[in-house]
Symmetry: C2
DNA sequence: CTGAAAGCGCTTACAG
DNA sequence: CTGAAAGCGCTTACAG
């Protein structure tokens, strides 16, 4: 079955005016080579006739779809960090529009990731490039490396830095917030997160560790507390025998869960234990008390990722490596000052 | 600047095999008119040469973009119901893919909605139809009605039912859960929600009211409690002088806020007051106690919306009116039985 | 300033 | 079963 949309084309406008469609094209695109008078007449008639530009024809001509695929692994599309990724995705599409591009989201299912299946949009040339939003397996990265389209990693990176990535400055963010805890008198500080799950969690741990080192605080192995299995699924948090006075959590959601657990066990947050998070997402303000945390600058990260992608799509493909974007500490109510006299 | 993607085309395959590109097209699309042997040879060579189908050419030919615009009003893209809409959006894109279609999301900003600006994807013929996800202003609906593309409303409807809509059965959902409260001995039951904000909130109220009527419980005007201003922004909930024993909230997030408020004021939920929600979203399980609520069947709603859209795009455009999809009660811990002997 | 010709990669309708 | 021709709506490169 053929479906004809009752669309006005440049040719229709040209015929009505007795000019060629080349001239109409030039006028509508504000290009050189049409008199001002004619250009105005064309634009006006286009308006009257309800002309709408046909992007598909432009795409055909240029060999570009003017779409960018946004790939989000399934495990980030649900509960955990859902709000973060949705916000990021929204901002990506909005930013792309400024360049005449559109985002097509694709949730990468766990099965497709394991089976190393590329998304359909790749095989159908539906997109000109890919932004990967959220850590993917290293096997999958190896497959992706081979495809002949620009790609950018957003919010994670890979050991092989052949693919440009934009990440939040996890290391210095965790470093800063741990410093902040120390400045409030804390010295028994635990870290909550599975060190082998994502590079973000790892880097945040290292920032935390750097702060300890600088303050000559010995890292207590029982103060590294697991929060999820290797698939990213949350597990029950096990508190150490000897309680710390502060917890640095790898993300707000885990901080939220921890605060609830502590409260159930009869601890007062922040009086008995300080708890800080990371991300400043919905969990930071849902928690009672509201969480002191590190705000990730999504807007800036997305802006950079999109700019990079547009450059690549336009063929200006200089490798860029890893770019990290600074966050900032948001002070709320989950940390108390335990120094003498405070 | 011209960017040439180093793509293999059907013509390249045809030349290598000494056949015409028409034959290659037929073979690759599994159409009549090619011998099995040749078809196999063509498919194999296509594979070897790394051929990828060019959707843009197909689009050009058919006058269709094979994209559907998913329009989400800005106010639903943030805090409130964010997780619901993101889940719905994800499921829409996945379902569309089964029909060879792709979703392009567009957040409708408050300004564009007020100024009655149509999304850019419309003017660029970037999509073949629109799914509107989340209530839009009636002025905007009036503008939309005029555009010559199929449209479907998802999760809301308009008084003029010229545009087909798929909604959750708000009325019977609220009716069922209010009945449930009554069955547990409650008779002083309040409703929380701004009756003038969205049709969902209104219909849920009416379902609640129907249950009261059926049980000969008089509707107490002070038991209709406002939760948000007309822009959808949450306001502080004001409790009535005389406390009810149960609250029917128009959504889980409001139920969550209410539970927290009640707890702060020293009430025990569910012992002193029962609180039920609607949606079964993230707030239902975040709340302590976890909320008894009505689960909305997003999957089914999306399935129907997408099917309807595909039919329309294919020209089989019978008006469908409003379709409502049944939800179900999820019983958790926020309701206690206050009947004698329980 | 204006336009005829060619082409982007595919598919349709028709002829052989 | 196979393919030449035309066309989808635009743009580019070139000629006048």
């Amino acid at each position: 079955m053929r479906i004809v949309k009752s669309n006005v084309t440049m040719k229709d406008i040209a015929e009505r005016l007795g000019v060629s469609s080349v001239t109409v094209s030039k006028a509508l695109n504000d290009k050189e080579g049409v008199s001002e008078a004619l250009k105005e007449k064309i634009k006006q008639l286009a308006d009257e006739m309800g002309y709408r530009y046909n992007t598909v024809a432009k795409s055909m001509k240029h060999g570009l779809s003017y779409n960018i695929g946004i790939i989000i692994p399934e495990r980030f599309s649900g509960g955990i960090s859902q709000s973060f990724y949705f916000r990021a995705y929204q901002y990506i599409t909005t930013t792309l529009e400024n360049y005449g591009y559109y985002g097509i989201m694709n949730i990468l299912s766990n099965e497709d990731e394991d089976a190393l299946n590329l998304p359909r949009i790749y095989f159908e040339n539906k997109v000109d490039g890919f932004i990967f939003l959220g850590q993917i397996s290293s096997d999958y990265i190896n497959v992706i490396k081979e495809i002949d389209m620009p790609k950018v990693f957003l919010d994670f990176y890979d050991e092989h830095d052949e693919i440009d990535s934009i990440i939040t400055d996890n290391f210095y963010g965790a470093y800063d917030i741990t410093n902040y805890l120390v400045s409030k008198g804390h010295r028994n500080i635990a870290y909550v997160g599975n060190l082998y799950s994502t590079s973000s969690i790892q880097d945040r741990f290292l920032g935390y560790y750097k702060s300890l080192l600088e303050h000559h605080i010995v890292l207590n192995q029982s103060y590294i507390i697991n929060d999820r299995d290797d698939k990213g699924k949350f597990i029950e948090i096990e508190l150490p025998e000897q309680m710390p006075t502060a917890f640095v959590c790898n993300c707000d959601q885990v901080a939220h869960n921890l605060v609830n657990k502590l409260k159930r066990l009869g601890y007062n947050v922040p009086k008995d234990c300080a708890v800080v998070g990371f991300d400043n997402d919905i969990y930071a303000t849902i928690t009672d008390p509201q969480l002191t945390t590190v705000e990730v600058d999504i807007e800036e990260m997305v802006t950079q990722a999109v700019k990079l992608m547009i450059k690549k799509v336009q063929g200006k493909n200089k490798p860029n490596g890893r770019t990290s974007v600074k966050g900032r500490i948001i002070k709320r109510d989950s940390v108390s000052d335990i120094r003498q006299g405070h």
